[in-house]
Amino acid sequence: MALETEGKTDSIFNSTAAQKQKDRILLLLRLVAFLATASATIVMALNKQTNSLVVATIGNNPIKATLTAKFQHTPAFVFFVVANGMASFHNWLILVLEIVGHKIDYKGLRLAIIAIFDMLIVVLAAAGDGAAVFMAELGKNGNSHARWNKICDKFQTFCDHGSGALIASFIGLLLLLIINKAETKLIFGGAAIEALGIGYSW
């Protein structure tokens, strides 16, 4: 009985050729997700634009003031940078572990641990995305009811870079979600056989 369960453990946790193929595809997806979240972090962190605007006119002379738009001025964007930074660090760490760490003994829990961390990081990245996208919408359209003016007409490059970072972050989030679902399916695909064998029910 012990030998049979060990065989099943091996087949669940990646020694057949089909499982290795799936592993490689997941690795590729994770690489793309890492690139997406890392680029989102970097583009938003370097987002800065200085513009000189006319604030008043005295007689015939316009008075200009130099204003800077930075990502640190908005707490939502700061959270966005931090969340995407953590997501890209997580992706990088898992990539390194999968490529290099074949000798580490996980006691068969490798897929489960990765899936759990993936779920947590996906939730964090989604929170960062949600806050940033609505702040960007506020900057783009303003809010006439609260008398908040839009800022995108004066700081076009800032807004463009911000939208680029947001799109990259959403792509990273989607890929992370797909990876997580694939891993869950891998776990449950093997676990269903175990469940029928042991008669597990709750």
Binding site: K107, A112, A115, A131, H145, R147, I151, T184, W202
Partner: protein, 163 residues
């Protein structure tokens, strides 16, 4: 033991359902009119896309919560519940994050963008929104706990048995 676990999960899901339903309702009924230097100020949740998203997300998760409560305990659909739990926790977290970001601008303004805070003019509206956000936060925490519990109950027993 299984019975108490089942009862605890049920209780947790009921509380989470209550939190999301109350968050949606409190946010949807927030409304205040004020006069400020002969300028009429009206604050409603529908003026802000972030608050609309908050109401819609909490409503969707409430419907999901009601449906899950009616699931019989031995059905195979519980594995789908684990997957769906992740998606709906995601939705809730992003909605509360967005609403918090906009509420923070409303309370403190943003001097760099020239946005003045509005909570001085409509304090009742601000208090109402704060209550809705607190209920939403409780919902998020409860759903995160439920997610961790479903992960534990599905992955742990199967793997512990091997050792």
């Amino acid at each position: 033991m299984a019975k108490t676990k089942r009862l605890c999960t049920l209780l947790c899901r009921l509380m989470a359902l209550g939190a999301t339903v109350s968050a949606a309702i409190v946010m949807a009924t927030s409304h205040e009119k004020a006069n400020f230097f002969s300028v009429s100020f009206e604050a409603k949740y529908s003026h802000t896309p972030a608050f609309k998203y908050f109401v819609i997300a909490n409503a969707i998760v409430s419907v999901y919560g009601v449906l899950v409560l009616f699931l019989p305990s031995e059905s195979l659909l519980w594995r789908l519940v684990v997957a769906l739990d992740v998606v709906f926790t995601l939705l809730l977290t992003s909605s509360i994050s967005a609403a918090l970001a906009i509420a923070q601008v409303g309370r403190q303004g943003n001097s760099y963008a020239g946005w003045l805070p509005i909570c001085g003019q409509v304090p009742n509206y601000c208090g109402h929104v704060k209550g809705a956000l607190i209920a939403g936060f409780i919902g998020v925490i409860l759903y995160a706990l439920l997610l961790l519990y479903s992960i534990h109950s599905f992955l742990d027993p199967l793997l512990l048995r091997k050792n």
